[in-house]
Symmetry: C2
Subunit: 167 residues, 2 copies
């Protein structure tokens, strides 16, 4: 475990964690994964990935676009959506359906259905992978003869720091 705790699956990243480590780690993992698969993590895609990882709060496509447009002219919606599609296709980021926004995956490469706890105050999303939760879904689906293709689990609420801040 790192001295300066970086974001881990199943926990809220500490307020003062070293986010540079998060980004660096995510980039390393993404590069490795793409190399293994012969997928091209181009400059543009890498940059979009970095922008998505700029915090642990999901980011909207047009936010990404605005930031991208500052550094690269001719950036238009397809520019960012295509990069997002690539990243999503390789499981490097997740889409948060209830927010129309995107967030970096904390465990790329591992098969998992993103499960998220999302703070409605600070926006931070914690990716979890609760086997009980998953098992409950699988079991119920099986009982009804339903063949699962994709799971969307998004729980909105208040993270511990934000609860403290309100009381």
């Amino acid at each position: 475990m790192n001295k300066t705790m970086t974001a881990t699956k199943g926990a809220f990243p500490g307020v003062r964690h070293d986010h540079g480590d998060c980004v660096a780690g995510a980039l390393r993992a993404a590069e490795e994964l793409c190399a293994q698969r012969g997928a091209r993590l181009t400059k543009l895609r890498r940059r979009v990935f970095e922008l998505v990882w700029s915090s642990h709060a999901p980011v909207g496509a047009y936010d990404l676009l605005r930031r991208l447009a500052r550094e690269r002219d001719g950036a238009a919606p397809p520019t960012v959506y295509r990069a997002l599609d690539f990243l999503r296709g390789h499981g490097l980021i997740h889409r948060i359906e209830s927010l129309n926004a995107f967030v970096g995956c904390c465990a790329p490469g591992l098969a998992h259905a993103g499960q998220f706890l999302i703070c409605s105050a600070c926006g931070t999303a914690a990716e979890i992978d609760d086997p009980r939760l998953d098992a409950a879904i699988e079991k119920r689906a099986k009982a009804l003869g339903f063949a699962i293709q994709r799971k969307t689990i998004e729980v909105e609420g208040l993270c511990p720091p934000c609860q403290a801040r309100r009381s």
Copy 2:
């Protein structure tokens, strides 16, 4: 239990179920609920509710609008969105985040966080309310000190009839 089985929470409505019964039951329940609460289920709201209930597949706001506009002129986006907001506020319908669409609630009045199995082939959504699933989420949230406000559980896949149809 009805002779002609109507849609029940926790199951896929049969292909040949009497959907008129579903709609009639839903309308009765909505009327009762609104009466209890002193909420006004106006003509417009009731009509939007009926249109949402026109099938068990979630319907987009603009689909509703197109249909509404046939019968009522001057129907514009706010017309339908306001009705949807009202219905949602009273728990009479749910929004399916992963589809940007709306579906009737099978158990209005009862506290529950809509959990859905949604068929990617025919569109049918089955509302379930699995206590284990709910418990798993609550437990994990508690362990992380997360205060839940809203849960979004949407599982996409193939319903039994659609699986049969493909094989």
